[in-house]
Amino acid sequence: MDILNAIVLLFNFIIIPALSYGSQLALGALGVTLIYGVLRFSNFAHGETMAFGAMVTILVTWLFQSWGLHLGPLPTALIALPFGILAAVAVVLATDKMVYRYYRRKKSPGIIFLIASIGVMFIMNGMIRVIIGPDDQNFADGERFIFTAGQFREWSGLSEPLVLRSTQAITIILAIVICAALFWFLNRTRSGKAMRAYSDNEDLALLSGIDPDRVVMIAWILAGALATVAGVLYGLDKSFKPFVYMQLLLPIFASAILGGVGNPLGAIAGGYIIAFSEVAITFAYRKFFGYLLPDSMAPDGLVQLLSTDYKFAVSFIILVLVLLIKPTGIFAGKTL
């Protein structure tokens, strides 16, 4: 029996990675849910928005690095992030003006918006490939670890190592700060409340004198900013590869729907639920049981419920289960 080592193992391979992955999903899902709440469609171009914002951030990071500009132990990307956000916001506002606004005036059904977003997805995907190419890009710099395996072993005296990478810590902290700021905006400011009102009941919001164009604009700005932060954090944590962001679309949508689409709190909860399930179900528990059980009972196999190659299946199965049991998602959806 070695409970402490078992707990450290769980922290190292499940809790910390899932927290940071969950934060990335939550930020992505928030953007999807905001757009759904206000514009009433599932934005298939959201993954590309994340990739686009991350790409601009990377380009600016490289520029800063070439100037010798650094943030000390923190990654340079953090000072480049605002530029990425500005670029992504500019692009989503431009697409709204050129593409979506027309259908809004025409009061087209949501499915038309969705199809239009597929067109936008193609164009943004092409732009990203032309500008930065389809390959892996690494742009993380600064201190790699908050503490390393060796430091932890020395400090704790346990045999099981624990590693906290700076990108994981930054991801979690930034996600908390941003979510807090978003909720403050939605619940405490006039514009935020107007946005919730519009999402709740469009006609009544119009009667109350809320300007729909302004609400839509704010929604896009928030979605663009959230997408960029999510994209950059994911890129810092793993690596930047344009193709990956399209694959992220599935767990992100799953998170948003799971929590109740249009509900920001649900999007956050959904993000962490999906991330924890993915990591926990594809984790091989052999060593974990090795610590807890006497040697004679230690398992021979990997004790893995599902191979990591099927992690997408996890988000999907949870999604289908929730939709079958409670179609509105865990928290009732459809409004901000």
Partner: protein, 234 residues
């Protein structure tokens, strides 16, 4: 000429006209009620006054100013408050936030107005931090009326405010509406519960097929045997 009047209104939602030369008016501090059988164009008449459908003929005048071509939003700025029949509160927002949204167009301090609304509807003060969607039907209607009052309108228009609430709640709501009228606001409402509504009405309009059939004070209409027989169930 009335404070607010829709004169000789003719029009519909494209296709056939629903309103035919219909005239509805209301004075400050008065309650005017539109009654009539199903499909008589009661709600349509009110929506026409509020600018939610285009009139082919006729005009709408408020306080001596012609507002026929204004959008509903612009009419809210001019001092009209409108309470739709359905979906008339922000269900996911608290009672207080609903009232704040009602005051969205106001630049000045709206806290005193909110106080007045709370005095008028004490239950709302109690439930100010509850989501409006969790309230009972009657309480929701109070939120809806309160939201419309937040702009300090000169005219308040109510589309079947008592639809789907119990008789006790209905009486309570009518009492509140009388209180609102006493503050000097003109009230125009469409009602299914014709008897009870005409009881509190200063002026009643009986519409049939988009035309004025009877127009008189509420009491006179209640006393009119023909109206009683045809529209009030004897």
């Amino acid at each position: 000429m009335s404070f607010l009047i829709g004169e000789n209104m003719t029009g519909g939602y494209g296709g056939a006209d629903i309103l035919n030369n219909c005239t509805i008016g209301v004075e400050k501090g008065e309650i005017a009620v539109i009654v009539g059988p199903n499909g008589a164009g009661k709600s349509t008449a009110m929506k026409a006054i509020f600018g939610m459908l285009n009139l082919r003929e006729g005009r709408v005048v408020m306080d001596g100013e012609e507002i026929t071509s204004l959008t509903p939003q612009a009419r809210v700025h001019k001092g009209m408050g409108f309470v739709p029949q359905n979906h008339n509160v922000f269900t996911s927002m608290t009672v207080q936030e609903n009232l704040e949204m009602g005051a969205f167009i106001r630049e000045d301090d709206f806290i005193p107005t909110m106080e007045q609304v709370f005095e008028l509807f004490p239950i709302l003060r109690e439930k100010r931090n509850q989501p409006a969607g969790e309230l009972s039907g009657g309480q929701r209607q109070q939120v809806a009326v309160g939201r419309a009052l937040m702009t300090r309108p000169k005219v308040l228009m109510l589309d079947e405010p008592t639809a789907g609430v119990s008789p006790i709640v209905m009486d309570e709501l009518f009492d509140r509406i009388i209180d609102v009228a006493k503050t000097g606001i003109a009230i125009l409402m469409v009602e299914q519960n014709a008897k009870q509504a005409l009881n509190i009405a200063d002026k009643g309009y009986v519409l049939v097929q988009g035309e004025n059939r009877f127009t008189d004070t509420g009491a006179a209409l209640m006393a009119n045997p023909e109206v009683r027989k045809s529209f009030l169930g004897g």
